[in-house]
Symmetry: C2
Subunit: 196 residues, 2 copies
DNA sequence: GTCTATATTGAGATAGAC
DNA sequence: GTCTATCTCAATATAGAC
């Protein structure tokens, strides 16, 4: 994003990152070699090392794009003011939009296994995000704004199970736009599939 | 499962498979080397090749355990007779139980990237399963048993996003048992989190 | 059913020229 | 910003003995 880029050979960091993340998502990070990356970039392996000092640093940069955007949602006004249930709705809806807007980066984040310290650091930030959302569920339930027969931690996990799964099938070119998708997620989460 | 096994050194196929799948899930299939596997088994690498002809054949055997159990659900009487909405409920509930009963095998299945023909074959069977469930959602909706303002394909994906995410956090040792978990999933899926 | 080699390939990464 | 080597190491897999 630092400049206009594009023109094929002549990559900047963000350009390399974009292609690399796509490859990581298609084959998995571990299964993607620097050689494969080089092929897809139309570069030699060593050219990649001009932009990133290691394969893992590419991963690190990519993960920051995903987790940073999710963390930012929690700092938005809609997540910090108003009824707990409304703040929860806001976070869920914004999370869907972040997933869609940064699809490849969040996809990568959600598939981590924690093999290295870079991965573990990102996983820890994800857990912290989940804890914050769980706290919101607790607050909304205690305020009598949510059903109280489901454990808030289970509820949070089911909600984000639903939301996170979006990265596995949503494609921006498809018919459904992000607003409609967020609306559907909220509809199922809040009211369920039962006919009314 | 062919015999009683256990006693440490002296593995049968199922014994090797069990340990291997655990390792695959912890580090990812690609990130798990035969050397790591050998260490965790307390064997040499070559001993593994006595039980399985290749690393990929270990994966193949593991995936069969997972996808086979899911496919079997669709053949149970509860999935083939009765109201469409009830059949759908049945499949969702049984799917949760399969996930819990075969947690490591289904976990592995759900994390595939399709890098090899073995993986792609399993993914195709998963897609076929999803298609069958989507058909059930369509049928229930057309029979007026489900809300009709959400695309059945989206609904199916959100439902199984929720269900499949269970493998990422559920641990059998924990407080929540499988029956309760299935009940919670159905509660959210059918009625949502709204207070009633 | 397991072992100790070992063959062979491909990985991540570096050196140094253009 | 990119290239052509090349280093080094770890991976899958095999041979053949116990």
């Amino acid at each position: 994003m630092t400049e206009s880029r594009r023109g094929r050979p002549g990559y900047d960091r963000a350009g390399v990152l974009e292609i690399a993340v796509r490859a990581f998502n298609e084959h998995g990070y571990d299964a993607t070699s620097m050689g494969t990356l080089a092929d897809r970039l139309g570069l030699s392996k060593s050219a990649i090392y001009h932009h990133f000092p290691s394969k893992e640093s590419v991963l690190d940069a990519a993960l920051e794009q995903g987790i940073g955007a999710l963390e930012a949602v929690l700092a938005e006004p809609g997540a910090t003011t108003g009824r707990a249930a409304d703040r929860l709705r806001f976070v869920l809806e914004r999370a869907v939009h972040v997933l869609v807007d940064r699809l490849p980066y969040v996809t990568l984040l959600l598939r981590l296994r924690g093999n290295t310290s870079v991965e573990r650091a990102a996983l820890e930030r994800r857990r912290e995000f989940d804890r914050a959302v769980t706290a919101l569920v607790v607050e909304a339930r205690d305020a009598g704004q949510l059903r109280d027969d489901i454990d808030p931690r289970i509820a949070e996990r089911l909600l984000f199970g639903m939301i996170n799964s979006i990265v596995e099938w949503y494609r921006p070119e498809g018919p459904e736009d992000a607003d409609r998708l967020a609306q559907d997620v909220l509809a199922v989460a809040v009211d369920g599939l039962r006919l009314r």
